[in-house]
Amino acid sequence: MRSILVIDDEHPTLVMFALLLEALGYDVITAADGAAGLAAFERHRPALVLTDIKMPGIDGLEVLRRIKAQSPATEVIVITGHGDVDLAMAALNLKASDFIDKPISQAALQTALRRSEERIGRLAASDNPAQVRHTADAIVLEITGTFSGAFRCDLTDAGKPLFTHAPGVTDKPLLINVSECASINGAGITSLGRIIQEARGQGRAVAIACPPENFRRVFTASGLTRLASLHESEMQATQALRARVG
């Protein structure tokens, strides 16, 4: 049974969290503020942390920063006020794995937890968050892990043959496929933006397939949707690209 630390200053929310997460099969540790949360983290070292951002005293972002400093591998999911993308971006920049809007729906919570679980599993197998593959219709950039600025060079290296050393496929469109359990932070968004700009500069059509709803919002808020069309699945994106090329 995996243990999870939940930090929230709202007692009723904390109670509900505990009940729900227990029902989902977690061993739940609760903390009512940031300081207590950090202390509990020290004590229990859970692999998963759920924290509210807005808290008196040490807030969620500070908790995130300190935990990531201590233990970068720990998955930290932040809880933000509804539609507060700026705060979500700030958290992602601090290497938060994911974010959930308030009021928290059970589905969103379960998705976030599942993706975290997958990332934890993947981290053990491979640390490459992005691969490139070529299909009949497009060059596909698969993002599967936690995609951030730290992987920028790798990606650029991967991107170069993608666009320059494959003359036969120069007119192939680019499809960025964000997998279910991927996580993208601010640096990752910036790199993606650069790649899309480059692809468009070469006359390629670009589409993004992103099943997680919350990251679609991040793409929209960051302005990437002005450069590329955004779709819920790879199939829809491929169809859209075909229609455009055709």
């Binding site: 029902a23 008196p56 009021p103 928290i104 059970q106």
Partner: protein, 658 residues
């Protein structure tokens, strides 16, 4: 008789008195004079008769001694016929010493009774006696005829009584004529003099009567030089100018205006008492004229001020609370005609339980004779409420104790104020929205988690432990209540206030502020210290407006704290503390912060509209100005103390509601 005399006019009294006096004096004089005159006449005639007799006696002695009878007769006839004696002398005769007849002038037989009718007594010179003979009346005067010591005889002279009577008649007639003439002259004199006294009196009487009928402008014909032109009097036309005479001013020569020296109207004339009386009367009439003119001018001057005043004016009797007068504006404002207003009492216009206004002034006038109460609720026709500023003062009006009050309609102003406050409240609501969203999100979040949990259990077909199930349900219910409370509070805050205030526990709006933004302050790491005294007297106010005021103060405090943090960097400890307590019978609330403080020069201006220290576009600078306006409406007061870099304290006080 005397009563009848008294009822006569003065003229007749004077006339009758003087005429009576003249007649009385004339009568007395006539009686006395007649006695003297007639006596003298009789004596004179007797002396004349005696003289005739003596002359005969002297001359006739020789004839008697000679016994010459013829000579005697001739002597007698001569004497009798001499001159005018003929008319006077009736007869002459001489007797001898023995009484025998010697000669006489009768041409008829001698009436023998004459011989013994008048016998001269012994030793007496003359004797006169009334005699009558042959049906004639005469006065017989006997004088003795003497020769040495012998008496030769007696000469008798008969004076004709008829002649004497004629003389007497003539004398009496002359005398009566004279007396009558004097009487007539006196009569005329009395008539004239009584007229002289009475005529001015009559004129004065007439004048007084016409004055009493209000006719002051008819000329007073007291004397010719008295011709009034009121325009010549400087005090007549200009009622602001005092009259030295009428107002009894000190008549210092350097103060007297040249036009009044001498006064053309108040004069003293030389003359008898009647002239003096007329003069005093003329002065009195002028005084009345001047006074009445001044009174009328003053009435004419103030009546238009009352009638044309743009403010409503009402005159209220203190004892009956009924109206005595109302100007046209008052009739227009309250929607009643003057007649209707005069039939009404104060209660028809002003509710008796008003905390301010005319009723209050009547019950508790205070040290001032006049008072101003603002935004007093009155009723127009049809119980339509209006707000007026009332200015009331006590006065005397037509001899009654009254309160005169003006009412200025400020309904529109009050409504505009309410709109402004409402608009600023809406702005405040906007400022609150972030905090409110947070406050609302918390219960919604808990509810969502709870319901999802139940749904999950349901989907998975798991059996929920009853203890957990009830915990989830009670939490959901509690959170729904919490959200409902926030929304209800929000609605209460946003609601447009009634125009009349309620009795409010001051702690309620203070707590209300933190219902909406308490969590937000906590998230900004601002500690809130509430030190509220329970059981404070209530204050007359609108709870949501007070909440707006306190929200403004707390919001400013938070901004000040954030500003100080931005200046110093970091997230230093900050606190907003609110106290409520009772101070000198007033309810006091202080809001203190540990923010950046206010510059001394800005401190004086912070309650001014549109004054702001915030960046352009961040604040209108109306928050404190509107708060100030709201507090003033409740007779509240606000004071501020601040130290730059240390913090600011606002202190608000209210009168405790009775």
């Amino acid at each position: 008789m005397i009563a009848r005399f008294r009822s006569l006019s003065l003229r007749y009294k004077l006339f009758l008195t003087s005429v009576g006096m003249v007649l009385l004096i004339s009568g007395v004089i006539a009686l006395v004079a007649r006695g003297i005159l007639l006596g003298t006449l009789h004596r004179e005639l007797e002396l004349r008769g005696a003289a005739i007799a003596q002359s005969i006696a002297e001359r006739g002695g020789g004839y008697v001694l000679d016994k010459d009878q013829a000579g005697l007769v001739a002597l007698l006839f001569d004497a009798a016929q001499l001159g005018e004696r003929k008319a006077l002398v009736s007869y002459l005769f001489i007797t001898n010493a023995d009484g025998e007849l010697l000669a006489h002038t009768f041409i008829r037989p001698f009436p023998g009774e004459l011989l013994r009718a008048n016998v001269n007594p012994e030793g007496q010179q003359t004797s006169a006696r009334q005699v009558s003979f042959d049906g004639q009346e005469a006065v017989d005067i006997a004088v003795p005829m003497q020769e040495g010591i012998y008496t030769l005889g007696t000469v008798h002279v008969g004076l004709r009584q008829r002649h004497i009577d004629a003389l007497e008649d003539k004398l009496r007639l002359t005398f009566l004529g004279f007396i009558s003439l004097v009487g007539v002259i006196f009569f005329l004199l009395a008539l004239t003099s009584s007229g002289y006294v009475v005529r001015p009196l009559l004129r004065l009487t007439k004048a007084a009567e016409s004055i009493s009928r209000g006719q002051l402008d008819q000329p007073l014909e007291l004397d010719q030089e008295l011709s009034w032109d009121p325009r010549e009097c400087p005090a007549y036309g200009d009622t602001d100018l005092p009259c030295w005479h009428l107002d009894q001013l000190d008549k210092a020569p350097d103060h007297t205006p040249p036009t009044c020296n001498p006064c053309k109207f108040y004069r003293s004339r030389s003359g008898d008492e009647v002239v003096q009386l007329a003069n005093a009367f003329a002065n009195m009439v002028w005084s009345i004229k001047l006074y009445r003119n001044r009174l009328r001018e003053s009435e004419e001057r103030y009546r238009p001020l009352f009638d044309a005043n743009p403010d409503a004016f009402l005159v209220l009797r203190v004892d009956t609370l009924r109206f005595l007068d109302a100007n046209p504006r008052a009739q227009e404002l309250y929607g009643y005609s003057k007649r209707e207003l005069l039939d009404m009492t104060l209660a028809g216009l002003e509710p008796a339980d008003n905390p301010t206004g005319v009723h209050r002034f009547l019950q508790d006038p205070g040290p001032e004779r006049q008072v101003l109460s603002s935004k007093v609720r009155h009723f127009r026709r049809g119980k339509e409420p209006i707000f007026v500023n009332v200015h009331a003062c006590r006065a005397n009006y037509l001899g009654r104790e009254v309160v005169i009050f003006s009412a200025v309609d400020v309904t529109e102003l009050v409504e505009k104020d309410a709109q402004l406050i409402q608009a600023s409240k809406m702005k405040t609501l906007g400022e609150m929205s972030a905090g409110m969203a947070h406050e609302l999100n918390q219960p919604l979040n808990a509810i969502k988690l709870g319901s999802d949990l139940l749904a999950l259990m349901h989907e998975q077909g798991q059996c929920v432990l009853p203890e957990r199930f009830s915990r989830v349900l009670s939490q959901i219910s509690a959170q729904v209540d919490r959200a409902a409370r926030i929304i209800a509070h929000l609605r209460e805050f946003g609601r447009k206030s009634e125009l009349t205030p309620d009795a409010v526990d001051i702690n309620t709006p203070i707590r209300g502020v933190f219902t909406l933004i308490g969590q937000q302050l906590a998230l900004q790491n601002i500690a809130v210290d509430l030190d509220l005294t329970e059981g404070l007297p209530r204050v007359l106010a609108h709870s949501n407006r007070l909440e707006q005021v306190f929200f403004n103060l707390v919001n400013n405090a938070r901004d000040a704290i954030q500003l100080l943090r931005a200046q110093r960097g970091g997230d230093s400890y900050a606190e907003i503390s609110i106290r409520s307590w009772l101070e000198d019978g007033r309810v006091a609330v202080s809001v203190s912060d540990t923010g950046c403080g206010i510059e001394p020069q800005a401190l004086q201006k912070i309650f001014e509209p549109f004054f702001t220290t915030k960046e352009a576009g961040e604040g209108m600078g109306l928050g404190l100005a509107i708060s100030y306006g709201i507090l003033k409406d409740y007779d509240g007061d606000i004071a501020v103390g601040s130290e730059v870099g240390e913090g600011t304290t606002f202190k608000v006080t209210f009168p405790a509601a009775a």
